[in-house]
Symmetry: C2
Subunit: 222 residues, 2 copies
Amino acid sequence: MAEFRVINVNVGVFDKNDRVADANRAKLRAQKTFMLNVMASPGAGKTTTLLATIAALKDKYKIGVMEADIDATVDAETMANAGVRSIQVHTGGECAMDAEMTRQALEEFPTEDLDLLFLENIGNLVCPAETDTGASKNIEILSVPEGDDKPLKYPLMFEVCHAVLINKIDTTDYFPFDFDAVEERIHRLNPDCKIFFVSARTGEGMQEWIDWLDSEVAAWNA
Amino acid sequence: MAEFRVINVNVGVFDKNDRVADANRAKLRAQKTFMLNVMASPGAGKTTTLLATIAALKDKYKIGVMEADIDATVDAETMANAGVRSIQVHTGGECAMDAEMTRQALEEFPTEDLDLLFLENIGNLVCPAETDTGASKNIEILSVPEGDDKPLKYPLMFEVCHAVLINKIDTTDYFPFDFDAVEERIHRLNPDCKIFFVSARTGEGMQEWIDWLDSEVAAWNA
């Protein structure tokens, strides 16, 4: 099996979070590393989407992944086996990565030479939305089986995202999903949010998302 | 539209949680109301499963539902439109119902004459597992599209549950899912956990789950 490390990180003081997040962002900007905070429900397809995205961009950028989980090393193993530089971060039961945990992970994981760093956050639509990690941008992956009502139930998540990927669009035969309604619900909360309709498995719609990410990375690292 | 109320509840003091939870449980036992705490990821099918379960048991038991959400009233509307006594509980951004929030909801929602009360918790596999609400039993609904690795990533959730429903088993053509592996992973964490393989939409496997719930309600209210 390919190699990756596992580290345990400790939660920070809440009222200092924004200061630590800004310091993380400044460090990443100085070293020209774009960090994308990837949020979603459990099983929405974060890892599959990242693998497909990395495959498309790996010849252009140096890429790494920090996998945050309560427990297990499943995702870091998947990334390592795909040849992606990765680290497994265990949050000690915390329901999201905060800025201090991200700072500790950035100390343990070599990122100086990376152009693009993915932070795959804990699977959860509540806590990760409340905590700035210091990422350059935030995205949410909402999968069709979860339903088009999620922006109504978890509005903050959709407010803090720069882009939303509606994933698993190849499963609408099984799961009724109103694309117009979800778009309207997201844009009511966040008019500037980019929305991409994709299937990470079949590749449908992925190019538009990858082009957007590519342009964001290029702009950050310019 | 059918009627239901919306209430806002406030988080309790953490170290008093177990005491308040025990008081909730004692109150419910005294009034012969079985409360089932229903936990799951967003979009795992909590509401659909509850609707099918209620349809099967409504002639035998008086049933009510407390719908906990960060925002929106989608689920309470669905329940009310199906003729189920329901209340929408808003948690003020908190990622789970705690015992104090449940106590406040039980004060606002008439449950004295109910045999069976469902608490549909916030969609999340982390926070709800950490907090005793005072429910008689806990269940988790894990849907096939989420993947069979969830017991590895969110072990506490599977440790605190008395039963797990593996839902959306009609979608295995789209989503590879190892039923033996998930069973083994759950039982390694929690050997006594009941596991039911169901599709709330097609009805497959539902009778065995409903029979189990029926026997639990009868035992509690005896």
